[in-house]
Point group: C2
Chain length 397, copies 2
Amino acid sequence: MKEQPLAGVTVLDFGQVYNGPYCGFLLAQGGARVIKVESLIGETLRARGTASTASFPFGLLNSNKESFTLNIKSPEGQTLLKRLVKEVDVVLENFAPGTMDKYGIGNEGLRQENPALIYASSTGYGSSVGPYRDYLGMDITLQAMTGVMSITGEDGGPPLKTAAAFADFIAGTHLYAGIVSALYARTVSGEGAVVDISMQDCVFPTLATALGSAYGAGKQTPRAGNRHPGKALAPYNVYTASDGHVAIICIREGHWRKMCKAMDRPDLAERPEFATFADRCEHMDELDAEINQWTSQHTREEIFSTAQQHGVISAPVKDLMEVLDDPHLAARGTLVKRPHETFGEVVQMHTPLRYKGIDPPALTPPPELGGATDQVLTELLGLSSDEIDELRSKEAI
Amino acid sequence: MKEQPLAGVTVLDFGQVYNGPYCGFLLAQGGARVIKVESLIGETLRARGTASTASFPFGLLNSNKESFTLNIKSPEGQTLLKRLVKEVDVVLENFAPGTMDKYGIGNEGLRQENPALIYASSTGYGSSVGPYRDYLGMDITLQAMTGVMSITGEDGGPPLKTAAAFADFIAGTHLYAGIVSALYARTVSGEGAVVDISMQDCVFPTLATALGSAYGAGKQTPRAGNRHPGKALAPYNVYTASDGHVAIICIREGHWRKMCKAMDRPDLAERPEFATFADRCEHMDELDAEINQWTSQHTREEIFSTAQQHGVISAPVKDLMEVLDDPHLAARGTLVKRPHETFGEVVQMHTPLRYKGIDPPALTPPPELGGATDQVLTELLGLSSDEIDELRSKEAI
């Protein structure tokens, strides 16, 4: 690949917080021109204030975008949007269900102006049909609704969320996937599309192992901490190292034999109670105790390195500060540092979508609110400065 | 959209377990012809046995695919693959790093045969550069390495994984995203591409909130259970209902006022210690106690419905059995039931990528191992039955 894959594509990104903005981030890093459309006070995450902790994720997700202010509640703003969509390829949004339709600028209103437009939205429960269609959703409530919390945590403890906002981000990734699929289809048909992503749909597949275990048991199995959801694989756990914790998993019989070599414990490979997966699962506590005995005498890095050398799948449990300085993320160019107005220095990231032969675009800081409004109106619609002034005086932009 | 977006695209899917197969699933449900290429004993998840609990995820992820057996370790198998790639658009794989290269059929070997080929791989740490490049990774070890475990769990408790295999699935979604981006780019350039996805890269963005909190505090904050990672929003927690738990989150000041109305507690909206986000975070225990007092008197469904009617973002904590019967997933056609050889009946899913005007293809059961081998060789390469027999006698297919 010699050019960014989405060069030449223009996007109006109405994204809020994580889901939509992450999609816009992937599009921008993929070479599209991404115009971030914000209310006159800025999108939710920006509005939480530049000195707040929300400014970090805002900067993370809004590099390589231009900022355009638009008051979608004003009739002039709505008219302006209808003109703008004739000049762009994609509109994406993750507002509360029905927000854009309320102002006549949902998929029907906008695709009337430009039948080649791809209109893409992501909501908690999708925007087409069903009893929850109009309901609000955010990462934590989707983790609740999809059963993820019910399987996370310890036996006897409460249901727990993961503090990684994965429901938001996996939906934003699907939103990007739907948009690019529609762009590809348009090269054949010439027609636009309406992409409808439901966070609930996107999270469901991640239950695969736990659902298999539940079907096998005929009922939901108890929460299993860091073990396999159905306690059907062992070793499979987080073990204690001399300086923290490590995760180790054996998914083939061969991994167990390699694990015994890594621990320098040939005797364990011969023990009949550890002979097969079924045997090891039956003697899981005893097995985990043997492994803990080894891991507790070594550092996380020693265990990680020894295990990988022996072909055993393992990793240290890193904390966030270690992740920010991870040598591999640095080597891949995933993380780079930029100055921050309050925190001194923060990381920014490049896209996970990588193609041999071309690097992702250099990262820019997040755009100033409305910094590209005039330029966009001049370039895309040929408006004069008087016309722009009038729109501004009417609080349309 | 009147036709599936990827109609006419042909894929060789070497996917194993979740990451690659989910990508192949999205491609197949998007209308591509997906030929699942398996070793002579079947891919890892199939090989765990049809009566095992692994057969559920195998069925979930391998609908709408054809199965083709190929021994990539045999010289005849390698030669055959080099002929096959001239007839297809995409090869995807998530083997251990370097597996395909070892046999001369990695991206360089195959793209020599077909420069328009898109070769896409996903590994724990990406296949291009960096100190972890050759290391094995699976969902649980990536949750460890990326810091996700370090922020999940309760204050004072151990680091915990989420039992949702989201590292695998978010990587598989990015793998699809990279492939379709490359297909789009190819319509302009005519050239193929090498797509390189690292699970570590894909998980990193999900840390956004927790990293913001860590930057704000100048260090990693303690694990926060179901609360906001930096305890910077309230209400934001999982509360006790009369029949389980519910998640509730207020992200705007207006949500809190609506929450007070939903609880019929106008007095709380007037309480100075709950006046602003900062106030409520300072009095988080007291606030959560007030909310628990209300939620504990109602069922999850009553709370969910009342909250949503008042514009408050909430959801019941559902268990897996409830998720399988979720009325909204049924209404969207996301889940459908099929007979299972051991479990009686299981669900299968349609793709989360939905387009107005066209439904995803009807689901098929997972294919029999090698069920399409002869047909593929006849259709794509025009081989005679004698030639096919010879390949079979050499254990190449």
